[in-house]
């Protein structure tokens, strides 16, 4: 969803390209007239309904699988029972846009916003699928009667290409929105989308394949398996969200007890994730980093009395490490947060254990938490630019030994941006 100027700028070129394609397509379609309006209407409706039934995938990505499958099916449509339909690229883009926009209305109406970047991606992938398949149709579907495996194969290939384009476009938008390296974003997007995308591609191809024989029946009948998949994803995303919420809540145990300052864990985890993302930590590892950051002070619970102010940085290095060790042991007992425990265990270790030497086993995530934790101990909830910049300067004094210079640099960049906005 486009909510800030920065995000709009990130998706801007994509939206402009899609808008141009839509304008051209509508113009061409208006000139040629709409062939077989009922079939077009059926697909537009299908896409519209799919748009309403959108889901959130794990990782917070929005998706409308049914709408995407319908769009793909129309782009690949070789024929339709009882009609002599020839889908063109312009017609496909027109129908898909109309369907998506109509379906997006109810949501926009209740204030959930238009997913312009997603719509743009759908327009462009539809174009690609149609543009790849239509030229080869005379080869794989010569007399337009017999559907066979050659047609199915050509369609599948076109669908896969469209899926790849979709992932790359999504990665480009995300990389620029969140300042993550493009390569990490592509890996993240592919990992997150491969499941739902293959179900979408298969359904799109099936509807297109079955339409010449089954006609309108193909649409609802082949939507059922995809709906089932969609349902599974929704449940998974829900529990994933619940898990995240719970870890965040548990992080407050130390705050409520006065062991740490209010909001410390939350701020450290937010900042650590920002730093990690810019340093190219993958989404999967970012999640562990977030958990670790949220729970990084849990070892303090084993102390008989809270440390005044909760700032671990004023403790002796040995004490800091003991607390880290205790916390890691607690986290390890969950049996699932293994990586987070590893990160927490070494969060107090210095970047250079001896002058000029770097410990290669020290995880980047631990180094991030060390720096960000120290930063938050200095700044707290304060939003004063001077204080933030001074804190960074102080951390920069520690890059000879305590802190990873790369992490401090990244933090400095983020803080510089934050203070810029403040003016």
């Amino acid at each position: 969803m486009i909510s800030s100027e920065r995000e709009l700028r990130a998706a801007g070129p994509l939206i402009v390209a899609a808008a141009l394609a839509v304008v051209a397509s509508v113009a061409i379609t208006a000139q040629d007239g709409l062939p077989d309006p009922w079939v077009c209407l059926a697909f537009a409706l299908f896409i519209g309904v799919g748009e309403i039934l959108r889901i959130t995938l794990p990782g917070g990505r929005e998706s409308a699988p049914l709408a995407s499958a319908g769009a793909l099916a129309f782009a690949l449509l070789p024929g339709f029972q009882g009609y002599d339909i020839h889908v063109t690229v312009a017609l496909a883009v027109t129908v898909v846009t109309v369907g998506s926009v109509v379906g997006a209305f109810p949501r926009a109406f209740v204030g959930q916003g238009l997913h312009l970047d997603e719509l743009a991606r759908r327009v462009l992938t539809t174009m690609l699928a149609a543009a790849v398949l239509i030229p080869v149709l005379p080869l794989v579907y010569p007399d337009r009667t017999e559907v066979d495996w050659k047609l199915a194969l050509a369609m599948t290939l076109a669908a896969v290409l469209a899926g790849v384009l979709d992932a790359v476009l999504a990665a480009a938008v995300r990389a620029s929105q969140q300042r993550a390296p493009f390569r990490t974003a592509v890996v993240d997007e592919s990992r997150a989308l491969v499941g739902i995308a293959s179900a979408i591609a298969a359904t799109g191809v099936l509807i297109a394949l079955a339409a010449p024989v089954m006609g309108y029946w193909a649409l609802p009948v082949f939507a059922v398996p995809l709906l089932l998949t969609q349902f599974s994803f929704r449940r998974f995303a829900t529990i994933e969200g619940t898990y995240q919420q719970t870890i965040r809540a548990l992080s407050r145990i130390t705050e409520v007890g006065g062991y740490t300052e209010t909001g410390h864990a939350r701020r450290v985890s937010r900042l650590a994730v920002m730093v990690g993302r810019e340093l190219g930590v993958s989404e999967r590892d970012l999640k562990e980093l977030e958990y670790a950051a949220n729970l990084h002070d849990i070892g303090q619970l084993s102390l008989a009395e809270p440390i005044p102010g909760g700032t671990t940085t004023i403790l002796s290095p040995t004490d800091q490490r003991t607390i880290a060790e205790l916390g890691a042991n607690v986290i390890e007992q969950t049996g699932v947060l293994t990586k987070a425990a590893q990160i927490v265990r070494r969060q107090a270790d210095p970047y250079r254990p001896a002058p000029g030497r770097v410990d290669p086993t020290l995880l980047l995530e631990s180094r991030i938490i060390k720096v960000v934790n120290a930063y938050d101990d200095l700044v707290g909830a304060s939003l004063e630019s001077d204080r933030m910049l001074q804190a960074v300067e102080r951390l920069e004094l520690g890059i000879d030994r305590e802190y990873d210079p790369q992490v401090v640099d990244t933090l400095a960049r983020i803080v510089a941006r934050q203070t810029e906005y403040a003016y």
Binding site: A199, I247, A249, R252, G257, P306, I331, V336
Partner: protein, 478 residues
């Protein structure tokens, strides 16, 4: 096989022989071997994958998503009673670790069910989709397909239920209720995917398997991930709570047991299942606020100062503060907030009375006291379940909601109770003094003395009254 009753052995042998007969009959008449092989490969692959995925899946999660069922139904629609048994019997070849006779029985069972389904499909006017020039009309294919799917399930279920009933010597009805009943409807739904597969297979051949089964496989995979995630989720809460419970060795495992007892009470008083789930979390997290109380206070032996006692009394509020953002907990948050209230209004933090106290809190209060009494504490041994029940009954109407007390008693009657742990054996090396009664306000004996002390200012000589006096002081000052 040896350990099975003789009747079961004979039955298994008979089914295997019959299945082999049907397979041989089919093989003799079969002409479309390529389709049979392709579908059979799919069955083997599907079964293998299912087991692979199921390994990580919680077994209570029901049948999950079947992949071999759609393939079986598709083979019925494509090949009829001749070919379908050949395809379905290949289930026995799936790479699963089971004894040979179980595999053979499963294969034979599949073959017989598929034969019956195929025969019914043709008998009610269905047309084989493979080879014939089928005039495509869904109504024409759909109804016979439904009949075939139902017959397949019925025959398969009958053979399965009777073998389990014979082997374990229980009534077939109970077996059906226990194992098959809840999977009947989902299995039927999956069988309709067989129709999709058959329709597309008739046109484009084996490639259809990839297309039709892909969404199913993805759904199956996500489902497995979901189940794994759910387990991980519960494990995380449980162990984080338990790990931090080590602050007080005597309360180890307390939260998990309170959660269990709360669920018993909740079920018995007829709460909806989703509320019971919420109650389970409430029980687990009811003392989460104690984790925020300094360890020095929790583990202090001897008298508590006013401040220290207030710190302990704060724990329901702290618990609410920690959990208040967890939307999914819903009612559970109230349960955590008010679990130290008393029916007579002399509890804390707000002194709510009777029905002003949320239901979850009234349940947890009983469960909490029950577990606290049946566990060893530093100043006394664990009481027996019967003693604890007597004590709960004595305090009902004053400290506890009588309905919840009786619900717990009734539930303990039917479900029993793993009488809580014995004296904790592996205590963490106590660098600080062992926890004393000073912190134990879950025990109704202590709590009741506390309330009495508040009323009469009596100063008793024994330990409990001493505690009560200490605890009562902050009250008196208000």
């Amino acid at each position: 096989m040896r350990e099975l009753p003789i009747a079961a052995r004979l039955y298994i042998a008979a089914v295997i022989v019959l299945g082999a007969l049907v397979i041989a009959l089919g093989a003799a008449q079969m002409t479309r071997w390529s389709a049979v092989l392709a579908l059979a490969a799919l069955v083997v692959l599907g079964e293998g994958l299912s087991t692979l995925l199921a390994r990580s899946v919680n077994r209570n999660e029901g049948v999950g998503i079947s992949i071999s069922m759609p393939v079986t139904i598709a083979s019925v629609l494509l090949l009829g009673p001749v070919g379908a048994p050949l395809v379905t019997a290949c289930m026995a070849l799936a790479p699963i670790r089971t004894p040979w006779f179980k595999r053979a029985f499963n294969g034979a069972m599949g073959a017989l069910s598929a034969y019956a389904a195929g025969w019914v499909y043709l008998a009610v006017g269905g047309e084989l989709l493979l080879g014939g020039e089928v005039e495509f009309s869904l109504g024409h294919v759909l109804l016979p397909m439904i009949a075939a799917a139902l017959v397949f399930e019925a025959v398969n279920g009958l053979l399965m239920v009777s073998v389990i009933a014979l082997a374990e010597k229980v009534s077939p009805w109970r077996v059906w209720i226990g194992t098959m009943a809840e999977s009947a409807v989902p299995l039927f739904i999956y069988s309709t995917f067989g129709l999709l597969l058959a329709v597309v297979w008739a046109q484009i051949g084996p490639l259809s398997a990839l297309l039709v089964l892909a969404p199913l496989m993805v759904a199956r995979w996500v489902f497995a991930q979901f189940a794994a995630r759910q387990e991980a989720y519960e494990a995380t809460i449980r162990s984080l709570i338990q790990a931090v419970e080590t602050k007080d060795a005597y309360t180890r495992g307390h939260s998990v047991r309170v959660s269990r007892a709360s669920v018993l009470i909740g079920r018995r008083s007829g709460l909806r299942e989703d509320r019971v789930a919420s109650l389970r979390y409430a029980g687990m997290l009811h003392d989460v606020g104690k984790l925020s109380v300094p360890t020095s206070v929790l583990q202090k032996s001897g008298r508590l100062t006013d401040d220290e006692y207030s710190a302990i009394q704060l724990h329901p509020l702290l618990g609410r503060d920690i959990t208040k953002d967890l939307e999914f907990l819903g009612e559970a948050i109230e349960g955590i907030h008010y679990h130290h209230e008393r029916i007579d209004g002399r509890g804390y933090p707000e002194g709510r009375k009777g029905s002003e106290i949320p239901e979850f809190a009234r349940i947890i209060a009983v469960a909490d006291a029950f577990d606290s009494m049946t566990t060893t504490r530093s100043y006394r041994g664990a009481r027996s379940v019967a003693d604890a029940i007597d004590e709960l009954r004595r305090c009902k109407g004053s400290q506890f909601d009588p309905v919840m007390v009786e619900a717990l008693v009734a539930a303990l009657d039917t479900d029993g109770w793993d009488a809580a742990d014995t004296f904790p054996t592996e205590l963490p090396t106590p660098s600080v003094a062992l926890p004393s009664l000073g912190s134990d306000d879950d025990d109704p004996t202590a709590a009741d003395h506390l309330a009495q002390a508040r009323d009469s200012d009596e100063v008793a000589e024994d330990e409990l009254a001493e505690l009560a006096r200490v605890l009562a002081e902050p009250e008196a000052e208000r």
